[in-house]
């Protein structure tokens, strides 16, 4: 599992300058690594420098079980906190800052979710939205990207 995570992080960091076009609001990146019983999903957020809070729904394969959220927010900057909660095969995530601090421009790791599944389906991202602490309102143009490291 640790090896998978290293591969995931490395892939994202290496790919970032090439693959991540500057979005209007930001992009939630989800990358799945591992096959079979033990799988890991890494979550990163590419910020435009104005986003203070964001949310999304991550849908894992239908047979996902033993979903481990203990590291779901592990990589957030100290300025931010959030909530992760799972129901069935869905994981809801909300990230925010009590001080309305903006997430600095660029790629920011959020954390990882591990689970067990016999399926090798990629997870799905939905309900992605974000807000600016500067304006107190929603940020448009949010994007999402799902990658399967095993396919690279």
């Amino acid at each position: 599992m640790n090896n998978s995570l290293k591969i995931l992080a490395s892939t994202l960091l290496l790919a970032a300058p090439l693959a991540f076009a500057a979005p209007e609001g930001g992009t939630v990146h989800v990358s799945k690594a591992g096959k079979g019983a033990n799988q890991v999903v890494g979550v990163d957020f590419e910020s435009n420098g104005d986003v203070s809070a964001f949310q999304f729904l991550l849908t894992l394969p239908e047979d996902a079980k033993n979903i481990n959220l203990s590291k779901c927010l592990d990589a957030l900057p100290k300025t931010h906190t959030g909530m992760c909660q799972a129901r069935d095969n869905r994981v809801a995530v909300v990230i925010y800052s009590f001080q309305n601090d903006a997430i600095p421009s660029g790629l920011q790791s959020v954390g990882k979710v591990t689970f067990q599944s016999t399926s090798n389906r990629k997870p799905e991202l939905s309900e992605v939205s974000a807000a600016s602490g500067r304006t107190g309102s929603a940020v448009g143009g949010m994007k999402s990207e799902v990658t399967d490291i095993n396919e690279k």
Partner: protein, 305 residues
């Protein structure tokens, strides 16, 4: 304080029948109470004000909690209430309002709708000693589990000679204290002629035993003739009629503004936990609401109907 009610002139009656129109009042005023004839508004010593500590008509600055936008209406003692005598011969009456249970002891009558004879066709009493609302028409029912110093929505759907629909929800809970259609029947020939809101006295049967701390606060009154009055979405700080991360940043703006003494009030309902204060607990609360909605099969059930 936001007040949203029908205009009861003959012309408006016709329009309301077709379009379901209702009037709007600007925040922080009592303008819509008593407008259009009948008895004048009776603001008495009710004060309206928001957390910006600017209170209209009050001799000194003070803070009044609110549910929506900038201002709530504080009734500090018995007899402080507003009245609208414009309703005329209403045979159906749908009303929602928000009440802050600011009594340290005793009770208060917080809402009455009077018939043509001046008798209460609907009455809502808050009993702080027994943690309940007592809701009366011809009969009476208790809504229990009501906490002190919390905001509650009271929504009533009244029609003459029928069972009245009653919904009470608040204190940051995502479930209602009561379900629809408790067994309170209404008068066979009653019509609604007058509405009163605050800490009411006069007539028969009002509750006079309360000790205000700070008192009864009301907000977001809305009455309609034809359709159920909509419930406000708890935690929808930016007033977009949905709960999402933008509400978090809007709340944080208000909290930071308050800490810096630079008021920056949210236009919607930032008091997610409905405790009368807007602080970091509300951010945590709305994050939980968003999570609940994301995981819900019906995304509207947690944020509000």
């Amino acid at each position: 304080m936001n007040v949203n009610r029908k205009v009861f002139s003959a012309l408006a009656l016709g329009l309301a029948g077709v379009l379901g129109l209702s009037g709007n009042a600007s925040a922080c005023t009592f303008d819509k109470w008593g407008v259009g004839g009948g008895n004048p508004a009776l603001p008495g010593t009710v004060v309206t004000g928001g957390a910006d500590k600017l209170v209209a008509g009050s001799p000194k600055p003070e803070s009044v909690t609110r549910y929506q936008n900038k201002c709530g209406a504080l009734s500090k003692q018995l007899g402080n209430f507003v009245q609208d005598s414009n309703p005329g011969n209403e045979q159906t009456y749908h009303v929602v309002f928000y009440v802050y249970t600011g009594l340290s002891a005793g009770g208060a009558t917080v809402f009455r709708a009077l018939n043509g004879g001046g008798t209460a066709a609907i009455q809502v009493d808050y009993d702080s000693n027994n943690s309940k609302f007592v809701i009366k028409a011809l009969g009476s029912t208790d809504v229990t589990g009501v906490q002190k110093n919390k905001w509650y929505m009271v929504r009533l759907d009244w029609a003459k000679n029928a069972t009245m629909g009653i919904q009470v929800q608040g204190a940051g809970s995502s479930t209602k204290l009561s379900t629809n259609n408790l067994s309170v029947t209404t008068g066979a020939t009653d019509t609604i002629e007058t509405a009163q809101l605050g800490w009411i006295n006069g007539g028969a049967g009002f509750v006079a035993s309360g000790t205000g701390a700070p008192g009864i606060v009301t907000d977001a009154f809305n009455s309609q003739r034809q359709n159920q009055a909509p419930r406000l979405k708890r935690g929808d700080a930016d007033n977009t009629n949905k709960c999402d991360s933008a509400d978090i940043t809007r709340m944080a703006q208000e909290i930071i503004g308050s800490l810096l003494n630079q008021p920056n009030f949210s236009p919607g309902q930032p008091d997610c936990d409905e405790d009368g204060q807007v602080n970091s607990n509300d951010i945590t609360c709305i994050a939980g609401v968003i999570i609940g909605d994301l995981l819900s099969n019906n995304p509207k059930t947690i944020c509000g109907d």
